[in-house]
């Protein structure tokens, strides 16, 4: 029971990871909740394999991205037709931040959503300020490949954002 409590605590502390991945890989609110559930379930099933060799967040990204990529197909058609409103429709209107701030993050999410699913995972980790070595360990490609891909992805992102 302690193990379960500890697991839930850690997931709760790092639940931002869940929300970011769900926003990038699932279309609407229902799909995002389904994907979130799928990821938490998979994290719990894989928890015995976490031995603390890497940081908990790195392990969580790895399992969550793995689950998201393999669950993506189910939602792929819907994602293509989803509007941006559905993506970030729950940002409250009375928020103190100027609408311009929401616009920027919305546009960034939309631009990332247009990338290939692997590239989405790489840029997510880059934006989360993972080192090339850490990205390489999560994705399973060489550091030089990460570097080459990132140059291409960032170029593409900037094109999409301008």
């Amino acid at each position: 029971m302690d193990k379960k409590r500890r697991f839930l605590e850690r997931v709760e502390q790092n639940q931002d990871i869940l929300h970011k991945i769900c926003a990038l890989y699932a279309g609407n609110m229902d799909d995002r909740k389904d994907l979130g559930q799928e990821i938490v379930c998979q994290l719990w099933k894989s928890y015995p394999s976490f031995r603390g060799d890497s940081k908990f967040t790195t392990w969580m990204y790895r399992v969550a991205l793995n689950t998201a990529l393999l669950t993506l197909r189910r939602n792929q058609r819907r994602v293509r037709t989803e509007s941006l409103k559905d993506h970030h429709g729950d940002i409250p209107a009375e928020s103190a931040d100027p609408p311009e701030e929401h616009g920027k993050i919305d546009r960034l999410y939309e631009a990332i959503s247009q990338l290939h699913q692997f590239d989405r995972a790489i840029i997510l980790l880059y934006l989360e300020q993972f080192s090339y070595r850490e990205i390489s360990a999560v994705i399973g490609i060489s550091e030089s490949n990460v570097s080459v891909r990132l140059v291409r992805i960032k170029k593409r992102l900037k094109e999409l954002l301008t």
Binding site: K4, L8, Q15, H19, C41
Partner: protein, 237 residues
């Protein structure tokens, strides 16, 4: 726009966006209730069904070994059958364990995809043949048990028997292949696309699906007609 701008937008934007999105502890706990992926369930169920058939075949062969204990020819057939059948069962256990490890292992994304592809490309193909042979063994074990004539069993037309066995084997394999074709192909193509950083296969598959449906309908129509013709001929109308 610099790289730092991207990181800044990401960080600040997410702080605001995620402020209103929190899962409560109770929600997270509810997420842990067992959910079974349909694809995984189908594959595991298929393996378990054939393992049950192998187990049944081993039990029946066990009875046969007792029933034909004084027949050296039958023993030469039944003992290797028992060994092969138990090896198949062992392969089933290995496959279930392998799938479990792939689904629950702490692998990087590329390794996880490669391993999943490996299940569908190699192990599952082998398993479909094993399944067909297992059912043939089960059928033979049942026949020899029922037709045991005081320790002897006679095949009146050996060539016909061998041909029929081969046809049954191909038929069972074919039925499995057709039944799983669509689902397995979809998963293979998707995983392959993911591995190769492309989407071409998935797009082509979407287009091919309509054609496939038409082919299935035509096949179903032909088979139904043949079935009706067979009944008409058999009843002498």
């Amino acid at each position: 726009m610099s790289n730092n701008d991207l990181i800044k937008i990401w960080k600040e934007g997410n702080v605001q966006m995620l402020k209103n999105r929190r899962f409560e502890r109770s929600e997270l706990e509810a997420f842990l209730k067992p959910r079974i992926s349909k694809a995984a369930l189908n594959l595991n169920l298929n393996i378990l069904v054939y393992m049950a058939a192998q187990l049944a075949a081993m039990i029946l062969i066990g009875f046969d070994l007792y029933g034909y204990r004084s027949n050296p020819i039958m023993l030469k057939v039944l003992i290797p059958m028992f060994i092969v059948c138990s090896s198949f069962f062992g392969y089933g256990v290995f496959l279930l364990t392998y799938i479990w490890q792939v689904n629950h292992g702490n692998f990087d994304l590329v390794t996880a995809i490669k391993r999943k592809l490996n299940v569908y490309r190699k192990h599952y193909e082998v398993w479909m043949w094993i399944g067909a042979v297992s059912l043939l063994f089960l059928n033979f074990a049942l026949n020899t048990l029922v037709d045991n004539d005081q320790g002897t069993y006679r095949i009146n037309r050996p060539v016909f028997f061998a041909v029929m066995c081969l046809l049954i084997l191909l038929f069972i394999y074919g039925v499995q292949k057709v039944a799983q074709f669509s689902a397995v192909r979809r998963i293979k193509v998707y995983l392959s696309d993911l591995q190769n950083d492309a989407l071409e296969g998935s797009h082509q598959l979407e287009k091919a699906r309509t054609k496939q449906l038409v082919v299935y309908l035509i096949l179903a129509l032909i088979l139904t007609l043949l079935f009706i013709l067979g009944i008409i001929k058999a009843t002498g109308f």
